[in-house]
């Protein structure tokens, strides 16, 4: 879609993107280029248009103006209920393996994914029989299955309890080590962004513009108490004008 002849082909690129729903301006002049296997977190005040940005990236929503280019297959992970409740764990994951024609190969990859998310023994369980954390692990296996290139995550861990959320961050890091993907994570969890992302994009209030981009040059996995995570958290809080407590000290 873009006319540029840039040397790097970005899996995801938007430029000069604006979007309005009726008279409500949601996004204004947003430009982001995401490199292959980069992990970008998008943070902003609630209702600022984070999820809308993700829907533009997935192609679900057509922007009012600006360019969107996307290479490869993008898949979305939802907050909850993204799995089909009428399908078993195996059936849900197999949805991501539909492009593989060979039955044996598909079975082999399914076993590998089950191994990866440690849900052997739960193949024939239905989502409502699993815990919230297990369900999100199945979602992860489904989006990682086959040859997906881009993962779009819409607050994937926000409906989980705190400890499960911490564990899921570790799992996600491990899974991405095994199967690298380009990731865009929309979250309101600042720690989560600081722990996981290579780059954090902080959005303003609606209409959302990019307020700040913060790059984190530190390998994963990162511990919650690593100084880089703590520092980044503090910086994001400052960007969101939530640093009053820090200043009071």
């Amino acid at each position: 879609m873009t006319a540029s002849s840039a040397p790097v082909q970005y899996p995801l690129e938007i430029s000069g993107l604006s979007l309005s729903f009726g008279s409500i301006e949601v996004l204004r002049d947003v430009s982001i280029a995401i490199a292959p296997w980069e992990f970008v977190a998008v943070i902003g005040p609630s209702g600022c248009g984070k999820s809308t940005l993700l829907n533009v990236l997935s192609g679900e929503v057509i922007p009012s103006s600006g360019l969107v280019s996307r290479y490869g297959q993008a898949r979305m992970i939802y907050q909850h209920d993204g799995l089909f409740p009428w399908q078993t764990v195996t059936e849900n994951i197999s949805l991501g393996l539909r492009s593989i024609a060979d039955d044996n190969e598909r079975f082999r990859q399914l076993q590998e994914l089950l191994e990866l998310i440690q849900l052997h023994g739960f193949e024939n369980h239905y989502p409502h029989q699993l815990s919230g954390g297990m369900r999100q692990r199945v979602e992860l296996a489904r989006v990682l299955a086959g040859n997906s290139d881009v993962l779009l995550m819409d607050e994937p861990f926000s409906s989980l309890d705190y400890l499960t959320r911490l564990r899921m961050r570790g799992e996600l890091t491990k899974l991405l080590e095994d199967r690298p993907r380009t990731v865009v994570l929309v979250t309101h969890d600042i720690e989560e962004a600081a722990q996981l992302a290579d780059r954090i994009i902080v959005l303003t209030d609606r209409p959302a513009r990019i307020r700040r981009e913060i790059s984190i040059h530190s390998p994963r996995p990162r511990d919650l108490t690593d100084s880089v995570v703590v520092d980044t958290t503090r910086r994001i809080l400052a960007e969101l004008d939530m640093d009053t407590v820090t200043e009071a000290k």
């Binding site: 679900e60 209920d81 409740p85 009428w86 399908q87 539909r98």
Partner: protein
């Protein structure tokens, strides 16, 4: 008798025994004439007579045949039309008022036309049963389709499910729990309508048998038929409730 399961058998049996005892006691007092208030023993004898003559089993088979035909045809037409209305706005807008009208028109009001058009027999009853099942099934299916969370269709699209695959792997399984609940209710209604239809537009079947017993003042046989009609109604629901045990629909009932 520690658990609820055994109480759920024992208590109703005790209650039934008490009621039958009271019935027997009342009929021995002679307060009511035997023709208006048959004694349990008379009913038991009538039951034996009806069984050995083969009339009862013939009527049961006839009525069940009609209910099955009417019900299955109505469900077979109602679910596809409901899905169609649920998915295409123009179809829904066009058909919904008409569907609501017919859903609220008692199928029994069709009786004169059913007899005029189809005569007395199987076809008239099946037609009335069809009407009693078809419209509720259409409306329930339509509501269920309209209520499918949008996220399911977004997931379907991103994994390349379209057309027929989307229908069989997303739309239909998503509405199944609600549709099954509707089928249970509709089957109960169908059974009621069948008996009523046979009372007027029948030459056989349990409804006709009830009318026949009334005309012959055989209240003992009448009671036999009432008991059989009630038991079959319960059994029909017991059969349909099995649908809710299918593992791929449990999600609709377990949470």
């Amino acid at each position: 008798m520690k658990n609820e399961a055994s109480w759920s058998v024992v208590l109703p049996v005790i209650l039934a025994a008490v009621l039958i005892a009271a019935w027997a006691l009342l009929s021995t007092t002679g307060l009511f004439p035997a023709s208006a208030f048959p004694a349990p023993m008379a009913v038991l004898q009538a039951f034996h007579g009806e069984l050995t003559s083969g009339r009862l089993s013939n009527d049961i088979v006839t009525s069940l045949f009609r209910v099955c035909c009417g019900f299955l045809i109505a469900v077979g037409c109602g679910i596809p039309i409901g899905v169609w209305m649920g998915q295409i706005t123009a179809v829904r807008l066009a058909l919904l008022p008409l569907t609501n009208f017919f859903r609220n028109l008692s199928p029994l009001a069709w009786m004169p036309f059913a007899i005029l058009w189809l005569g007395v027999g199987d076809a008239a009853s099946i037609f009335l049963i069809f009407l009693s099942v078809f419209f509720p099934v259409v409306l329930a299916t339509l509501a269920a389709v309209a209520g499918i969370p949008a996220v399911h269709f977004r997931v379907a699209r991103s994994y390349g499910l379209r057309g027929f695959e989307k229908l069989t792997q997303v739309t239909l399984p998503a509405i199944m729990p609600q549709v099954i609940t509707t089928l249970r209710v509709a089957a109960g209604v169908a059974w009621l309508v069948d008996v009523a239809a046979e009372m007027i537009a029948g030459r056989d079947g349990l409804g006709f048998a009830v009318m026949d017993s009334r005309n012959g003042l055989r209240t003992d046989i009448l009671v036999v038929e009432m008991i059989v009609i009630g038991i079959i109604g319960v059994l029909i629901d017991r059969v349909l409730v099995q649908l809710t045990t299918i593992s791929s629909v449990r999600w609709g009932y377990d949470r």
